[in-house]
Symmetry: D2
Amino acid sequence: MSNTPTTQTRIADSFGSQGLMKTLGASLVFVGEGEVHIAMPFSLALSQQQGFVHAGAVTSIVDSACGYAALTTAPAEFDVVTAEFKINFMRPALGTRFVAVGKVQSAGKLLSVCTGEVRAFTDGATAYKVVAMMQATVVNVRRAG
Amino acid sequence: MSNTPTTQTRIADSFGSQGLMKTLGASLVFVGEGEVHIAMPFSLALSQQQGFVHAGAVTSIVDSACGYAALTTAPAEFDVVTAEFKINFMRPALGTRFVAVGKVQSAGKLLSVCTGEVRAFTDGATAYKVVAMMQATVVNVRRAG
Amino acid sequence: MSNTPTTQTRIADSFGSQGLMKTLGASLVFVGEGEVHIAMPFSLALSQQQGFVHAGAVTSIVDSACGYAALTTAPAEFDVVTAEFKINFMRPALGTRFVAVGKVQSAGKLLSVCTGEVRAFTDGATAYKVVAMMQATVVNVRRAG
Amino acid sequence: MSNTPTTQTRIADSFGSQGLMKTLGASLVFVGEGEVHIAMPFSLALSQQQGFVHAGAVTSIVDSACGYAALTTAPAEFDVVTAEFKINFMRPALGTRFVAVGKVQSAGKLLSVCTGEVRAFTDGATAYKVVAMMQATVVNVRRAG
């Protein structure tokens, strides 16, 4: 699917129907050709035992960002499914807001390879720290119906 | 840390202080030497766009299960942090209840390697399907204080 | 493809045509349904800077073992290609002989997930140490011709 | 270790003592601060069953490139060991010459995260295709002696 207004709408609709994204307080903030950003404010509801954001929440938003990035470059009649990913956590997820950036690195007929990162921002600062890096494999699956 | 009642208590306390586990509705169901299980019932609050459980929720519980498994074999004065993991999603996370099983495969002084899987159960059935498999690297870090 | 004599022959022929396996001194030692073993004796030609076997040689044999394991369970008209893998190195590859064991964990129509490990043996001992663990995604691709 | 002439020499010496790099016909072509390149010409001695370069050979050079990249940013008294990596193979390794590029993305006291790619070149052309992408975790280990 090319990155038309239709793609934008389709991704926004899909994102809106993800219960987990709502539960995590995440929002879709950018959809471009081969690149999608998802933001998530800090909340104690997302914490691990030391009060930082749990690796699972960090992972959830960057997984979705990679999947939707892959959808922007998938053929029109296909949906995408994450086959697998690998993620490194470089530092504690400390911040007031997190932005996951997913990018398509290689878009094949069947499989896409995406990379993602999660950036931690602190209120009032423009700089960010990358807290996690992902490399993911996404499968194109023909849409039913 | 050996798998003494103290370890059990320490893990239960740590788990209880994870905001994300509460948000996901997850509970700690087994702590053994080198093995930890975490359960999570299905909820629409955890869904992806097709109504299955989101890969991020599946990942969150098996990441925690692997981390706590590593803690059962870590030296007493150490905490653990997930450095990275890789996870494959073999089928849609369809079921009424999910159990993540994390196991230590190799416990080094500095790094442990764990494997994990997430099992999907359906009410009334005893069989399960493995929906995801993880391989994780966990770091021992000396406790502050 | 089911694990018939034909599969055995097909895998032996394919293995025999891999220049790298010959270069590494590797041999195919077991082909079963969903499981393949490849052996490689120690050689200085495979070393890293400290004289142990290089992670790349260890990886090469377990990648091939996983790929061939996936081939034993792939439909008859399909070949397999490794899409990606993740590998942990738990200890130095010290030994006189290494055996890579690849196993199919989940065989889908399109993708298989395999796990592998590399065992280090020392002459005269029957015990071994696992020096590396792999989790791999293998794609079924329709054979040309 | 900072990227002084000493680092350059140390990496060249280490590379020269890797039996596997010689066996694969690989050479060290660039050492910069946080970035190392390793080249390898095509040879049938490196092939898989279809005549392309085997994923294991591709992986070996990019693993070494990532490890040496990490060494350029490690503290002076430390060596490095690859703890684990993940690699995607995006297309067949077809070409006359391959260059693995390893880069440090995050250099911690204990662990570094590196990314790598393998570029396939064809004689007479200046363009290249990326055939594989790696994300690796490298550990700093204090040098003995």
